[in-house]
């Protein structure tokens, strides 16, 4: 049996048995949903419908309805895309990278983080699709035979690498998530009483038996998928950064981008996990599983990745200035950005991504549920500003002063962005209501090594 040092804080609080874990996790599914859930879901669904309306309007009228102009020809669309893809990095990082590092605390957060990843990547995929203008030609991003010759895609283009990276990442994340869900669906199937629920979970559990060979294959598949998904996580945001880095625009054309974007993605992804789990542990009474220690572990990841991001900002700022190239004076990390018309966007980034997360260095702050949650919101905002700054600030001072301009979002810009947040939360709330929000069978496997009442000599080993 796996042994754990007695001084390591427990990951499952209280005196719990295997059966208690099942009951705790299935309770929100079996019981009636709370009024809060209905209010939140209705609100999210209304925002989602508004978003769908905005997207429909956008597609029927064309992308001229956005606030883009001749100088700033990429703005909120790509900002939102990169923001969502970044958020979508935490789930697979938690489940794959932390599995390879044998971090047991991942088990309380991996399921909901993976769900978040999948929904975030779906929202990310919306923006490149709609910014094409003619969405009905979207299949042209794939190398398909066509009546033009065949005219193939350009494999040298970073935009095409992105198509492969995002679609691989999305589909592999879904498979990884679902393979982990199958045994938990089987637990639900054997546990729920209502007929429609029994039927639903029977179908979803694919007839899982949980025999020794199945579990042996399960563990091997989880490990190999983790090994495949780990380089995938790093490759995806590297490729996203190359959308900018392989161009010639000052501020974008920068070799620091891939590692810096990956760190930023993990930074924002963990912030979103904190935001969602902060609400969920209260709403679903998961205080015993998502403990102060879990929050602290995640905050430490945020400190590390946030630190990498801060160093990258400083490097960008210095290198731009040191190059002496006048165009660098107006990039997103420059004196021009800090004092120019977009000073507020520059300082919002500094405040939300460096100054406020720096308070996590204090143990009191990073072990506080409330402050972790508040800081996570600031990081979410800050990471949106990072992408906004990179895209809009680098473009808004064109090579000719006659092209200098500002970006003003239209109501369609705002509607599509807010709408995707609505769709994301609708999907997430539905997931939280009908799916096991914790990897309950994985948690059972660490109960007797990391459960509070099994650590030290609180109870004799033979007792459960």
């Amino acid at each position: 049996m796996h042994q754990e040092a007695a001084i390591r804080p427990p990951l499952i609080l209280g005196h719990r048995t295997y059966g208690d874990i099942t009951t705790d996790v299935t309770a929100p599914i079996e019981n009636k949903a709370s009024r809060t859930w209905y209010v939140l879901t209705t609100l999210a669904a209304i925002i989602a419908l508004y978003g769908v309306a905005c997207i429909t309007y956008l597609i029927s009228k064309g992308i001229g309805t956005w606030g883009l102009n001749k100088t700033i020809n990429w703005a909120w669309d790509i900002t939102n895309f990169v923001w969502w893809v970044g958020i979508g990095h935490a789930g697979t990082l938690i489940s794959a990278v932390l599995l390879l590092f044998r971090q047991k605390w991942r088990m309380a957060v991996n399921r909901s983080a993976e769900a978040m990843t999948i929904f975030a990547v779906m929202m990310a995929a919306v923006f490149p699709m709609i910014h094409m203008g003619r969405i009905w030609l979207a299949y042209f991003v794939f190398p398909l035979p066509n009546q033009f010759g065949s005219l193939w895609v350009n494999f040298n283009s970073a935009l095409l690498w992105d198509v492969f990276a995002i679609s691989t990442y999305f589909s592999v994340s879904v498979v990884y998530w679902y393979i982990g869900l199958i045994p938990d669906f089987a637990t639900l199937r054997d546990h729920v009483k209502l007929k429609w629920q029994k039927t639903m979970y029977s179908v979803l559990s694919f007839g899982w038996t949980g025999n020794a060979k199945a579990w042996q294959r399960f563990e091997e598949v989880s490990l190999v998928l983790a090994g495949l998904a780990t380089p995938l996580v790093f490759s995806v945001h590297s490729v996203v950064s190359m959308d900018f880095a392989t161009s010639l625009v000052p501020g974008w054309h920068s070799t620091i981008y891939p590692p810096y974007f990956v760190a930023g993605a993990i930074f924002s992804g963990f912030a979103m996990v904190q935001t969602l789990l902060g609400i969920m542990r209260k709403a679903f009474n998961l205080e015993a599983y998502v403990t102060r220690k879990h929050v602290e572990y995640m905050n430490i990841v945020i400190i590390v990745t946030g630190g990498i991001v801060a160093v990258a900002y400083a490097t960008e700022f210095f290198m731009g200035w040191y190059s002496g190239v006048e165009y660098e004076y107006y990039t997103y990390m420059s004196v021009g950005a800090a004092t120019g018309q977009y000073w507020w966007a520059f300082w919002a980034l500094m405040l939300c991504n460096i100054l406020i997360p720096a308070t996590l260095w204090f143990k009191k702050v990073r072990t506080s549920f409330f402050w972790s949650w508040v800081i996570s919101i600031f990081i979410n905002v800050g990471m949106w500003f990072e992408r906004f700054d990179i895209i809009v600030l680098c473009l808004h001072r064109d090579y000719m002063p006659s092209g200098w301009t500002m970006f003003y979002p239209s109501w369609v810009d705002v509607g599509t962005f807010v709408g995707t947040i609505g769709i994301f939360f609708t999907l997430y709330l539905l997931f939280a209501r009908y799916f096991p929000v914790l990897a309950l069978n994985e948690l059972k496997s660490i109960l007797k090594s990391s459960g509070e009442s099994y650590k030290g000599d609180v109870l004799p080993k033979s007792q459960h």
């Binding site: 690498w161 089987a186 025999n211 399960f218 563990e219 190999v224």
Partner: protein
């Protein structure tokens, strides 16, 4: 003698493991073990061979890489070479560096999905399959050993249950085979 299936139910994976070890030492063949989570170390006791899922993944990865190499060469170099921004697609060896992201992603795509599909088929876990675990509690908090008299001609059903009673068993259920 009627064929019987015996299910020995345990409350803890460690108890099940020591019971399985005791049975196997006495020459009883264990048919299968059902549990809510993987029991580490049970495979060698009941004589399970190592799974070949990792090899499957590797083969699918090689397949994906080969297909991606062939596809990029055929589409970008052979069938319709394009000259974009003064960077012609003339020779594969000159362009392959730019294809690396696509080659990598496609390799991972094939390796992951190929293994996942093989896994689902081999486990007989597919949409619409009925549940085949002997006891609904085996996905919750019970750990079950399945024994069959048909596998153990040297022992009687009573002899096996007698041995089981000496372990920390929670309950013993017997069924007629096929019932």
């Amino acid at each position: 003698m009627a064929n019987k299936v015996i299910y020995a139910v345990y409350e803890d994976p460690e108890l099940l493991k020591s019971a399985a070890r005791k049975l196997v030492t006495a020459g009883v063949q264990v048919r299968d073990v059902f549990s809510p989570f993987p029991i580490h170390g049970i495979d060698p006791i009941i004589g399970l061979k190592r799974t070949r899922m990792g090899i499957v993944s590797f083969m699918f990865g090689i397949f994906g890489l080969s297909l991606a190499l062939l596809g990029t060469w055929w589409m970008a170099i052979y069938d319709w070479p394009m000259n974009i921004g003064g960077k012609p697609n003339q020779f594969f060896y000159q362009n392959v560096a730019a294809f690396v992201p696509v080659l990598f992603e496609f390799t991972v795509l094939c390796a992951a999905h190929g293994m996942a599909i093989t896994y689902l088929i081999r486990n007989k876990t597919l949409p619409g399959m009925p549940a085949r675990n002997p006891d609904p509690r085996s996905t919750n908090d019970k750990f079950i050993i399945e024994l069959r008299t048909a596998d153990n001609h040297a022992h009687t059903a009573e002899g096996i249950t007698g041995m089981l009673r000496e372990t920390d068993v929670f309950e013993i259920n017997e069924r007629q085979f096929g019932a």
